[in-house]
């Protein structure tokens, strides 16, 4: 095999000479019918896509904050990959939201043009991480919950939502594996790393109950289009118990009232200030 570089040997044959931008990519929505299905209220579908998109967007932003401060270069790339996966999900879901609700808002309008009270993400996604152990606890909870959700959404009667979910399941499977691997390492590492891991679990525990609250919106849209969050609880508990049993840790007793979507901590405002700062300073700018 006569290849001039290692990359020639492993990348696909393509007219695109810019191998650094990748080859052989597939559009997750290729061939998918994009109209809103008959009998599905567009406003409800839009609101549902919006909250799923907000979860991904805000979680992605918190992960991006680890860039340049991750403990190892390799972990930094891993976290960036996970953040980009979620950003990709957010873009598709926000685009779907703006289309389905008939407002014609673009993904940028929705990401950069809304205030705190208009964001529908769960609080779990918006809280900052005290340390790497805290991040791992939050990422494990988030990816386990979202994987269970997207797995069921693959059967949604909205073909776009089903296609986004099908792609997301593969991504979330890796995210969950990444977080679980690190939980095992930290919990079984030194007494200090175990202590920090346990502290991370304690910090995230109060934010778990609200992940499984059924809203009126989800009750209206399920079972055809949406998934009732309450249905995810058994799988979530079983997966998490499987990980924690291996290291002899248990969930700390959760305290605190579950909040409905749209109720936020005081940490979302500063996050949005940063996320939206460029768009606010240069409205409508492109490059």
């Amino acid at each position: 095999m006569g290849f001039d570089t290692a990359y020639e040997a492993i990348t696909e044959e393509s007219d695109d000479q810019r191998w650094a931008f990748g080859t052989g990519f597939a559009d997750p929505l290729a061939g998918v019918e994009t109209g809103v299905p008959d009998g599905v209220p567009g406003a409800d579908l839009g609101a549902y896509c919006l909250m799923l998109g907000d979860d991904a967007l805000i979680m992605s932003h918190r992960l991006q904050e680890w860039l340049a401060r991750a403990p190892e270069l390799e972990e930094e790339t891993a976290l960036a990959n996970i953040a980009l996966d979620l950003l990709g999900q957010a873009r598709l879901l926000l685009t779907r939201a703006g289309y389905a609700d008939g407002s014609g808002r673009t993904e940028d309008d929705l990401a950069f043009g809304r205030g705190v009270s208009e964001f529908r993400n769960v609080r779990l996604t918006e809280v900052g991480d005290a340390d790497f152990g805290g991040l791992i606890a939050r990422l494990l909870v988030f990816s386990t919950w979202r994987l269970a959700l997207l797995d069921r959404l693959r059967g949604s009667s909205d073909p776009v939502l089903a296609a986004i979910a099908a792609r997301g399941v593969l991504e979330l499977t890796y995210h969950r594996d990444y977080a679980a691997q690190w939980l095992l390492r930290l919990a079984l590492g030194t007494s200090y790393s175990r202590e920090r891991m346990a502290a991370g679990l304690a910090a995230v525990a109060p934010l778990i109950p609200e992940l499984f609250l059924d809203s009126d919106l989800e009750l209206r849209l399920s079972p055809r289009v949406a998934v009732r969050p309450a249905e995810l609880r058994a799988e979530f508990d079983s997966v998490l118990a499987g990980v924690l049993d291996r290291v002899g840790l248990v969930w700390p007793k959760g305290s605190g009232e579950p909040a409905r979507r749209g109720v936020h901590t005081d940490q979302l405002g500063p996050l949005l200030d940063e996320l939206q700062s460029v768009a606010r300073a240069n409205p409508g700018a492109t490059w």
Partner: protein, 95 residues
């Protein structure tokens, strides 16, 4: 730095149209399982590979530059070792 950090691993990828694994670089990891995941995150994020091998760099025994001449120079003038004196049938690929 007194802390040596994680050990080094070498990464080999096989691409979709590649028949063999190709060395693409190295990375740090605590153990082989972590190295495999790091390799996935560092070297396949642009859709390059379908299979990954990792091996601890310390486990590779390499020829020394000092031995270059006695190792490799003697084969330089032995053209009869190359299978160039007969035609390869079209039905025999990958030679």
């Amino acid at each position: 730095m007194s802390d040596p950090g994680w050990p080094l691993f070498e990464v080999f990828l096989r691409g979709k149209r590649g028949l063999n694994h190709v060395h693409v670089g190295s990375l740090h990891a605590a153990d082989a399982q972590m190295a495999l995941r790091h390799a996935r995150d560092l070297y396949t994020r642009r859709n390059e590979g379908v299979s990954i091998w990792v091996v601890a760099s310390a486990d590779i025994t390499a020829s020394s530059p000092d031995e270059k001449d006695p190792f490799f120079a003697p084969s330089g003038d032995k053209v009869y070792r190359h299978p160039t004196f007969y035609d390869i049938p079209d039905s025999v690929p990958h030679i």
